[in-house]
């Protein structure tokens, strides 16, 4: 189709779709007037039932834990898919720089940038661990903490040390962390079957609300997800950066 015909078709159809969406959304409750029974029930029972003060994490890892298992495996699949799609071709090879001193010429990082990033890596790792472990208590959890952990490693690259980043995150170890996190979540769920009779049932003691060790299996699941997510993101970024910086034809 010519571009004009396509645009005409789309604009006409989009107008129709806008009308339909408006008609459909008119039936929604007014903004701010939501009163869904499911949500209200969770808000009322989450602290008493699970001794977890963060309702969103409790929903993610306990009430609707199966969705999180699926979502975790979607991330896992995309990493596996990425490894398949960006695999080394017969006509390519990796060509890392000859000398270590050459590495931060990749990005032309200045001394100020390198110092600042080195200073930030530590606090970021601590923040990541904090967000992971306090998932059941305050906003946060495995996904958020996992991304922070991966970002701490990415900071090393941003400071001009791409090869250092590769050395700090050996491929095998990261792959193992990623697959281990994914399988770990599944195994804790199986633990629910073994110890409590239903998959992903919370089978550990709930402790006291507001303490670090509370809410049963929720912090454990959070940690497993954190391992998986940081491993996944480090693998993703390494694959893309390899493609940009190291892989050469012929």
């Amino acid at each position: 189709m010519s571009e004009r015909a396509r645009l005409g078709l789309f604009l006409g159809a989009a107008t129709g779709m806008a009308v339909l969406l408006a008609w459909g959304m008119a039936g929604l409750p007014a903004f701010g007037a939501f009163h869904g029974a499911y949500a209200l029930l969770i808000d009322h029972v989450v602290v008493a039932q699970r001794h977890a003060t963060d309702a969103v994490t409790a929903v993610n890892f306990d009430y609707r834990g199966l969705d999180t298992l699926g979502e975790e495996f979607i991330l896992f699949t995309s990493v596996v898919g990425l490894a398949v799609l960006l695999r080394e071709q017969r006509s390519e090879r990796e060509r890392p720089p000859a000398r270590a001193g050459e590495e931060h010429r990749f990005q032309g990082a200045s001394c100020a940038l390198r110092t600042l990033t080195l200073l930030l890596v530590g606090p970021l790792v601590v923040l990541a661990l904090y967000v992971d472990s306090h998932g059941a208590l305050t906003p946060g959890g495995g996904f958020q903490g996992g991304v922070l952990g991966a970002a701490a490693l990415l900071l090393v690259f941003l400071g001009g040390g791409y090869l250092t980043m590769r050395r700090l995150s050996p491929h095998r170890l990261v792959e193992l962390a990623e697959a281990g996190g994914a399988a770990g979540y599944g195994m804790i769920g199986v633990g629910g079957i073994v110890f409590a009779g239903a998959f992903l049932k919370n089978f550990l003691g709930y402790g006291t609300a507001g303490e670090l060790i509370s809410a049963g299996t929720i912090p454990l699941l959070s940690m497993a997800v954190a391992a998986e997510v940081s491993g996944a993101f480090v693998l993703l970024w390494s694959e893309f950066l390899d493609q940009a910086l190291i892989v050469r034809r012929g």
């Binding site: 396509r6 339909l20 008119a26 029974a37 298992l69 699949t77 898919g81 490894a83």
Partner: protein
């Protein structure tokens, strides 16, 4: 029994994680064996569930149950159709894994990991009773599919196919999620039974109609219904054969199952006043798809793309059965799907045998080369001939029983009796194309130089396997043979038809679905009964004769048929226009997606 329910989903996910972790460390035979064992275990589990699901089995994850009528956790509610579809999925994945033992030397066990995640996503989709969980498993399926399609990255074709697939299906998924959000906004629930119970009290208004439209479009994009079908031919032409087997055999059909599930378990009560209009819209879409798919099928020379259009055509016919919105139609589509899945899987595997031997799947390049005593080529020939006849509903083999059930479901519904004629034409066209391929490749018939000189989507193919090519390995010969025999004779088991009819009645029974999940009692509705009648034999004979005649006409020398030149000229012009619309350009596909959504929405709104 209850405890088995989560296992068909957890087992493949855990095995996939292990396979990815041991990539390059463990020998290939070990990872292949593990993957195959896992798939077979899932097959056995699902078959056991299907055998025991005559009373719905409900499993609550996290140990939650219903509190004050509110479903607090996620439930798997397993009925016979869901477990039956899961069994079919596991069977096809096992066959594809066995077939692919010689494939994918470059990525080792990663392919097995992708296939197992694909399996888990599909099984979860079949068994779940929660609307958002349905979406999550739908996405698991989709993401594994995107990775599988783009496997052969050395060529431009797979990149284009993967991009088209990913973008169109993602837009469809977002539409579906918008629909789910609308239903959540109205009912405050995500459990399908609970939403159904909440909606049943009022007739459908704008929100429910638009939610139905959005969820329907999301699923029909995956089901390759016109005008959302463009991606399927592109993806099938370039995906490796084991992936094509699964896409055509079960993924497309699963999307239609999802539509049936959402309709019967969630929306059927609130849409009761609009049943006739919804029926008209769905059957119109189905017929359009059946005809366009069949015509495009005849115009292809790339065998995998030809088989893809045949799948599109059959998908339209399944939608006609579902679109009747009766238990009889549901049962007919169910039976048809099983027979089609096995035959289409066998056909793709046979195309894979040809690709393995001759490094091409172009019909004209392969002319006559299929003749030979090699067992692989003999099996491929048998699959194309018998598979083509089976898809043309040669009585009593192949899809004959499924087709007759579909005809039997259509004739009693007032105003839709003529649809059976259209289905005959569609089936004859697509089966005729397959028989034409069989004649040209394995018989050497047909003219030497193709009549049409324009490039008929000929795509050069790099080989998908690295093993020697003068013999076909046994693991590539056994699965298509088994699937061919299975697809031809499965309809003959009379118990199967009765079981599917009862299963369809169970699925269509919204009241007892709600009762099983939320607690309560309801009376079951009776199973439909559509016996095979003489009309079915006549229609099947017409289809087979039409298919054979078409194949003969296509292979015969042009001089014999010149009186029909005028007709042929008009038909060719029409086909050229149709083929130009399949431009390969994803911008066009999205424009058609929105256009289809707007037109379908207008039809539903004004009805």
């Amino acid at each position: 029994m209850h405890a088995l329910i989560p296992l068909p989903v957890i087992l493949p996910l855990l095995c996939a994680a292990v396979l990815a972790a041991v990539n390059q460390l463990a020998p290939r035979w070990a990872t292949d064996a593990m993957g195959l064992a896992c798939a077979l275990a899932v097959l056995v589990l699902c078959a056991v569930l299907a055998a025991h699901a005559s009373h719905r089995l409900v499993y609550w994850f996290g140990g939650f149950h219903v509190r004050h009528g509110v479903a607090v956790g996620i439930a798997f509610s397993v009925d016979r159709i869901g477990a039956g579809m899961a069994t079919l999925v596991a069977l096809m994945v096992s066959a594809a894994l066995l077939y692919s033992v010689r494939y994918f030397d470059e990525v080792g066990s990663l392919f097995g990991a992708l296939m197992l995640v694909f399996l888990a996503g599909m099984v979860g989709f079949c068994l779940t009773g929660d609307l958002f969980d349905l979406f999550v498993f739908f996405e698991v399926m989709s993401v594994a599919g995107y990775a599988l399609v783009g496997y052969k990255i050395e060529e431009a074709g797979p990149l284009q196919g993967a991009i088209n697939f990913a973008i169109t299906n993602s837009v469809g998924s977002f539409a579906m999620l918008t629909g789910i959000a609308l239903l959540y906004g109205r009912t405050g629930a995500l459990n399908m039974a609970q939403i159904g119970a909440a909606l049943a009290t009022h007739p459908a208004d704008g929100l429910v109609t638009v939610a139905l439209l959005l969820i329907m479009v999301g699923l029909l994009v995956k089901a390759a219904i016109v005008p959302w079908h463009f991606w399927l031919a592109d993806a099938h032409a370039v995906a490796p054969v084991p992936a094509c087997v699964l896409f055509s055999g079960v993924m497309v059909e699963l999307a239609l199952y999802g539509l049936a599930r959402v309709y019967w378990s969630v929306l059927s009560a609130s849409l009761a006043a609009h049943t006739a209009d919804l029926r008209a819209v769905l059957i119109a879409l189905g017929l359009l798809t059946a005809l366009i798919g069949a015509v495009m099928c005849c115009a292809q020379r790339h065998i995998k793309r030809l088989l893809a259009f045949s799948t599109i055509s059959h998908s339209g016919m399944f939608l006609v059965g579902l679109g009747l919105l009766t238990p009889a139609g549901l049962a007919a589509s169910g039976e048809y799907v099983i027979e089609h899945a096995m035959l289409k899987g066998a056909l793709f595997m046979a195309a894979g045998i040809l690709l393995h031997r001759f490094r091409t799947v172009d019909e004209h390049e392969l002319r006559g080369r299929g003749r030979g005593g090699d067992p692989g080529l003999r099996v491929a020939a048998a699959v194309f001939v018998l598979g083509g006849l089976g898809l043309a509903a040669l009585p009593p083999l192949g899809v004959f029983f499924g087709k007759s059930a579909l005809d039997g479901a259509l004739t009693p519904v007032p105003g839709y009796g003529w649809v059976v004629g259209v289905l005959v034409v569609g089936s004859a066209l697509s089966a005729g194309a397959i028989l034409r391929v069989a004649g040209r490749v394995f018989g050497g018939w047909g003219e030497r130089v193709p009549r049409h000189h324009e490039v008929l989507s000929a795509v050069s193919e790099l080989p998908e396997t690295l093993s020697p090519h003068d013999r076909t390995p046994a693991v590539m010969v056994a699965p298509p043979l088994i699937l061919l025999i299975g697809g031809l004779v499965v309809g003959l088991f009379s118990g199967l038809r009765a079981a599917i009819a009862a299963a369809a009645a169970q699925m269509a029974d919204r009241a007892s679905y709600v009762a099983a999940v939320l607690g309560g009692h309801a009376h079951a509705i009776p199973a439909p009964h559509t016996p095979v009648v003489t009309l079915d034999f006549l229609l099947a004979a017409a289809t087979v004769l039409g298919a054979v005649a078409l194949a003969v006409w296509a292979l015969a020398a042009p001089a014999v048929w010149w009186p029909l030149e005028r007709v042929q000229g008009v038909a060719t012009a029409g086909i050229v226009v149709l083929r130009r619309l399949h431009s390969g350009c994803v911008n066009d596909y999205i424009a058609w997606l929105v256009a289809g959504l707007a037109v379908a929405g207008a039809a539903l709104a004004l009805a």
